[in-house]
Symmetry: C2
Subunit: 430 residues, 2 copies
């Protein structure tokens, strides 16, 4: 088939009419398929049911150092969990704090603490006339929601195939002391699924921000989430790189087991420099008596060590790899050569990113919705929900069954084609 | 024996010499006994080991409404947990949000939210020239630590046997719009172990604060923590009372299962009005994707219903009642009639409060420490750690074994007597 742009308007109108017939058939099925969020599917959750057996009423819930996990104490987490997550995050256990069930919550609290108390002795952000954050785009809507909630001005920075546009990042943070942070999902990024190149990480570690309280919010949510055994992205460990670059305090690194064991019942962690850790702990000490150590111990006993996590992630990959491949195959089959969009083919993570013709994303998502397929809202990948090109759509393939996913993607492709036809025709008419 | 004040100085010096001999004997034992915090003992923790068996790999972790507890979702908690904690807190499940493992954390976040975003549309506290809190004294150190952390000025309000001095509370909140809240532990209070009278609760519900964003922080931490089956304090339910008084938004009520199941691995909850709940949820929605629902379900399956909690608390009481009685018996035996202090005899909670002669508390605690007995720091029960009378000491009897507790209390009484002798002698000499 020809590229849509190369078709005559008559050809396009014919194509559109044919597509609409197909669309109506799907609509008649009364489907309800959800591809909106990065949620594991039931088979993935089943992988962790063994978690429910590792502790029972006969278990000794005592740590190696004698800590009774059932009682108060151990603000920064039990040593065994710090070691396990240390191996997972490639950081020294002493640089790690284990939190509750949500790394998003820790990021929120970190912004909130900077807002009320400032970063390492600097002015609390609530006392400043303006606070800005760099937001690589497209990016993660829940990150942007936090900075928006605090009235922080968000500056979009374009993503490239190797990470954020580092020329722009370097210039902006060097010139503007109101810029206090940047949101990063450095590995299998949300929504692209790309990983930052070695050069990008090295340039991050060597940033020279005007603000002494500028921090990189390094949300390594998908560090273990490879789709393939051998084809894997590699990410340079940022904390060590910052230390080598003489910028030890530049980064807050976040991680969790949310999409490893159970979302909502995992354990979250921060790795950072001793100075930053002091900041975190000064806050934590007032905020809580401690996190759920029984759940920390449950994770440690379930996995044993990092190899246990790797083996476990292999099982996740076996379940979700066919889903990623299905999405890619259908997009390839139905859209390739039409010039109506581009998409990523990540080696890990939870998302595939689709870029439509400018001005089509909202229409595609609305159209899919009317045929029973819920996608992430168009615009969600941009600060304030505003995608200036109206072209970016996040595809979350993990939750639906393979069969539902196939149907959903066929509907999606159809919607892309319909919207594209209409857009090109409308552009020609105007 | 005579009251110390009625002894001649010579008699007192003889008494002191004899006490010091005893003290040295205890010191020689090289003890290490901890009565500093309200921590359950091992036997209490053992009561909840059945929690580890209610969910296993064959369990269906689905709620009645179809929610899979293993996945994301249900920001305000699973319905079953809201119902269970609704019965526990005497509130409608729809007025309840289930949180993570720590109600202290929820209180911290509540202050933090008021600081950054304000209460129900009012000016964020960080934008105000001054923010004040009323602190019934003696009170709970971790409450005071939160308000201190935010730079909130703390105004002590004396506790009476029926609760805070309500004349003072009414006058202050009515006159000063900078007063934004009050810390309350209304049942089996920390550290007194007393419960607010009906009149006190009714006066709280009818407060007419100058500040529209004044809130009562009602930390009902010990609502279920009776020591006796029939001799129990009764507390009027504040939320219903506020509603009746036409002040529905006046109170935030906090509770948790921390000292019911496992401290650090329980579930926390807030009950409040629909307007306040909207505030809480607007924040929560940005802060997390949800709390640990597997643990919520674990609690529901373990207890079944409120009767399960009541039966469970009866077992706790059987373990800790003898400890409270031991403390009271030793104080009675060793100090009664000496005029060297007063103490409470609560029907529940986690603490007994001791009031020494003015100017003796720090010395008593330091002296006990040197004989191997760690008490809560003197002063901890006051804002900024400053007890103006230097007389208040919190006794936490639950954690040590009965035998250790007996020794610790004998040492404590001895230290009270030594400090009192010295103080009276010094006063006479000056």
């Amino acid at each position: 088939m020809k590229q849509y742009q190369e078709m005559t308007s008559e050809e396009l109108s014919q194509e559109l009419a044919a597509l609409k017939v197909q669309y109506k058939k799907y609509q008649a099925l009364g489907l309800s398929l959800d591809m909106s969020r990065g949620k594991p599917c039931q088979e993935q959750l089943d992988l962790s049911m063994g978690m429910m057996d590792v502790l029972d009423s006969a278990s000794d819930l005592t740590c190696e150092d004698g800590t009774d996990c059932r009682n108060y104490g151990q603000l920064t987490g039990i040593q065994e969990a710090r070691e396990l997550l240390g191996d997972m995050m490639e950081n020294n256990p002493k640089d790690i704090i284990i939190y509750g069930n949500s790394s998003l919550n820790v990021m929120f609290d970190t912004i909130s603490r900077a807002w009320t108390h400032g970063v390492m002795g600097n002015t609390p952000w609530c006392k400043l006339p303006e606070v800005k954050f760099l937001c690589p785009v497209p990016g993660y809507d829940r990150h942007f929601a936090i900075t928006e909630f605090f009235g922080i001005e968000m500056i979009p920075v374009p993503m490239t195939p190797t990470g954020p546009d580092m020329d722009m990042v370097e210039t902006l943070v060097h010139e503007d002391s109101a810029i206090k942070g940047i949101w990063c999902v450095p590995k299998y990024s949300n929504p692209q699924g790309i990983s930052y190149s070695d050069e990008t990480v090295r340039r991050f570690a060597r940033l020279q921000p005007a603000a002494p309280d500028f921090r990189i919010f390094w949300d390594n949510a998908y560090g273990m989430h490879h789709l393939y055994d051998h084809k894997q992205d590699y990410l340079i460990e940022i904390l060590a790189e910052c230390k080598r670059a003489g910028n030890p305090d530049l980064v807050y690194k976040f991680s969790s087991t949310s999409k490893i064991t159970f979302p909502g019942s995992g354990i979250a962690a921060v790795a950072t420099s001793p100075n930053n850790m002091e900041d975190f702990i000064s806050y934590l000490r007032k905020q809580t008596i401690g996190h759920d150590k029984v759940n920390q111990l449950r994770h440690v006993r379930f996995f044993g060590d990092i190899h246990g996590i790797v083996e476990h992630m292999r099982k996740h990959a076996e379940i979700i790899r066919p889903k990623f491949e299905t999405v890619e195959n259908i997009l390839e089959r139905d859209l390739n050569g039409l010039g109506v969009g581009n998409w990523t083919t990540p080696l890990g993570g939870y998302f595939i990113m689709f870029d439509s013709l400018p001005g089509c994303a909202k229409d595609i998502v609305a159209r899919a919705k009317k045929a029973g397929v819920t996608m992430t809202n168009a615009g969600a990948t941009w600060p304030y929900g505003k995608d200036p090109q109206d072209s970016n759509i996040r595809i979350a393939p993990t939750y639906p069954s393979l069969q539902d996913l196939t149907t959903a993607m066929e509907i999606f492709s159809l919607c892309v084609r319909i919207s594209s036809c209409k857009k090109i025709l409308a552009d020609r008419a105007s």
